[in-house]
Amino acid sequence: MQKKWVPTPIEIAKKPDYILPGHRLCAGCAAPIIVKLTLKAVPNPENTVLVNATGCLEVATTIFPYTAWKRPWIHNAFENAAATASGVVAAFKALKKKGVWKDEEPTVIVFGGDGGTYDIGLQALSGAIERGHKFTYVLYDNEAYMNTGIQRSGSTPFAAATTTSPAGKVIPGKPQWKKPIGFIIAAHMNAYVATVNPYYWQDFVVKVRKAVEYDGPSFIHAISTCDRGWRFDPSLSMRISKLATDTCLHPLWEFDPETREFKITGQSLYLAKNPDKIIPVEEYLKLQGRFRHLFKPVRRDDLIKTIQDRVMKEWKYLLKLAGFES
């Protein structure tokens, strides 16, 4: 891997944007921030091709005849962004062999939502990673099918209310836990994998740069706050994003397929060394309407504790994977 690149805020701010204003994503949506940060981390953004799965990001950025994309961009369907990307990568490889494409092969970056990644697109993603195409898949994880109106996905957290896992009189939101997508992709053993949080932007861009420079597939899992679906005031977006990591719900780590090592990074590394600084999940949950039923009309201490225990169990598992003794 490359030697460490640590950009300053000014360096990042000065880099051009490739998703332009005027798109119709909601105020408070983290997805365009994730796109911006991703493209600011690419060493040669002018030589980039973007692929987008169906979902909020695709729909809200390309309402014909407008487009927010200042890079070549393709949307094919919902479940096949990774397969589409394999075709793009393969074509440039062949065109290069034939001498038709004379430059370096473009950096191919995919953006997919959690529905398009955890669920309907998992097969195509797994296939593309197994085949070893060199592309970076950026999952913007807003933890439900937001574009179709907040339905639960394999990523929706336990107890969260969505329109298909409502908080009812008997069932208090989603009964299942979130699928560990990062570990699933890491288990392919040939992809660089990292979790990121747009609030912790420096950790974010450093990892994306590693991802695009890795000679093989790479996968970036970005938590993507959604004020409409999670039910919070748009102004709280980055605060809630920060809490996702500070509570250890979305810890920051990376997996290096060369060394087969998991590493805890950034704020999560700080929390690994200072466990007393970990914030209780309740602080995160209580800001969001999707968890309101845990607090009103009666406080569900049992469920809050179940979530807290699970988060700590997974955090301990990660610490173990990353070589921390606990």
Partner: protein, 412 residues
């Protein structure tokens, strides 16, 4: 000038693989399914032996095969795939996207019955299932025609007035697995350079006042957004443009067929339809795929008996050549349309319905009846066709009552 060729013993699948070898697409993305499998196997060998520089992407499903072809073609490459039956159905969603993105992908389909029940043998239900997906569709009669047509398909698809994907169909097992002598060009550059004009050159479009390549080329002065959200204010116009492109394909199929004939010395009618003993016919049969071979044998037999019967084989199915059908069949009394495809809940097989609709335009119309035959690979011997043809003669003489549809060779 006819170019130098060599004879090889090839079945339809191998002929497809040889055509792909001679074209040398940039990307072949495919998934195995009987009876198409030999295509991907042979082509993998060409790749493994370094005969082509193609990137062979052995995807994890047909859905991904078509998706990867979309990505490859949007990137500016030549993309090829092959499938059949269930594989084609799994691709269905992306077939419509490929044609709407105006990507010149070429796909071979070794026609096979669709599950269920699961069956691996020939009928045309798989292709008929995707007849409205916006792909140009050609049906071949034998392995030689398959080789020739796959090569032609790239040139049809890439024509700037077309820019549509093309399906080349041929009967599973009957053609895909039946070896025959096939002439192939000795020098692949006849196909790659002389016929196709070198690597694919994506079409040019105007975007924000600038000329750009209709591709994901990062060097475009204005980057292209492929596959945007297209609502009620533009979608309809885009679909209309697509149907005009399909109309344009008709002439291009003929031109490319003729251009190729000058290099190969081989013709299939005018590239659109292949008539046989039709000029003075009173009775005509209409069919696609390999059955016309058997039908010609029966027709010859009946002609010797003085019966005026002929055949119209459709090579082009999309765009549907309804004017040719009107022109070629306007003088006959009875038309029998032979559908090797399911007709669940329909008035008849799809070929019948469209042929009959075309003939409705005529001032004086022939009687048009339908035979559904050969489903799931059910054998189609000459005697079976003879029985049906005799019935058509009976209708022409008034001794048999006309009907709409019958099933041939089925136990009722």
């Amino acid at each position: 000038m006819v170019e130098e060729q060599e004879e090889r013993l090839l079945n339809g699948d191998e002929a497809t693989a040889w055509a792909a070898y001679h074209v040398e697409p940039d990307v072949v993305a495919a998934y195995p399914i009987t009876p198409q499998t030999i295509i991907v196997e042979r082509f993998s060998e060409f790749v493994a032996d370094g005969l082509v520089r193609t990137e062979f992407v052995s995807v994890e499903s047909e859905h991904s095969a078509m998706s990867a072809c979309v990505g490859a073609a949007a990137a500016g490459g030549r993309a090829f795939t092959a499938t059949a039956a269930n594989g084609l159905q799994l691709m269905n969603e992306i077939l419509y996207i490929a044609s709407s993105l105006r990507l010149p992908i070429v796909m071979a389909v070794a026609n096979r019955a669709v599950s269920g029940p699961i069956n691996i043998h020939c009928d045309h239900t798989d292709a008929m299932n995707v007849r409205d997906a916006g792909w140009v569709m050609l049906f071949c009669e034998d392995a030689q025609e398959v080789y020739d047509t796959v090569i032609q398909a790239f040139k049809i698809a890439e024509n700037p007035n077309v820019l549509l994907p093309v399906i080349v169909s041929f009967d599973g097992f009957l053609i895909s697995h039946t070896a025959q002598k096939v002439k192939v060009f000795k020098d692949p550059s006849v196909v790659r350079e002389k016929f196709l004009g070198g690597p694919r050159k994506p079409a040019k479009i105007k975007l924000m006042g600038q000329e750009v390549e209709l591709s994901l080329n990062p060097k475009n002065p204005v980057p292209v957004t492929f596959g945007p959200l297209d609502l009620y204010d533009y979608y309809f116009e885009h679909k209309r443009q697509q149907s005009l492109a399909m109309q344009n394909a008709y002439n291009v199929v003929k031109e490319v067929h003729e251009e190729y004939a000058r290099l190969s010395g081989r013709r299939y009618g005018d590239g659109v339809t292949v008539p046989y003993k039709l000029d003075d016919a009173e009775i005509a049969v209409v069919a696609m795929g390999s059955a016309p071979g058997t039908m010609r044998y029966v027709i010859d037999e009946m002609r010797e008996e003085g019966i005026k019967i002929g055949l119209l084989r459709l090579r082009l199915f999309r765009p549907f050549p309804y004017r040719d059908i009107m022109e070629k069949l306007k003088h006959v009394k009875v038309v029998g349309v032979f559908d090797r495809a399911q007709d669940q809940g329909m008035m008849g097989g799809p070929l019948f319905i469209e042929t009959r609709a075309a003939l409705y335009e005529l001032e004086s119309r022939p009687k048009v009846v339908n035979y559904v035959f050969g489903l799931g690979g059910r054998d189609t011997p000459p005697e079976m066709f003879r029985e049906a043809f005799d019935e058509l003669v009976g209708i022409s003489k008034g001794t048999v009552k006309p009907f709409i549809r019958k099933y041939l060779g089925v136990r009722e």
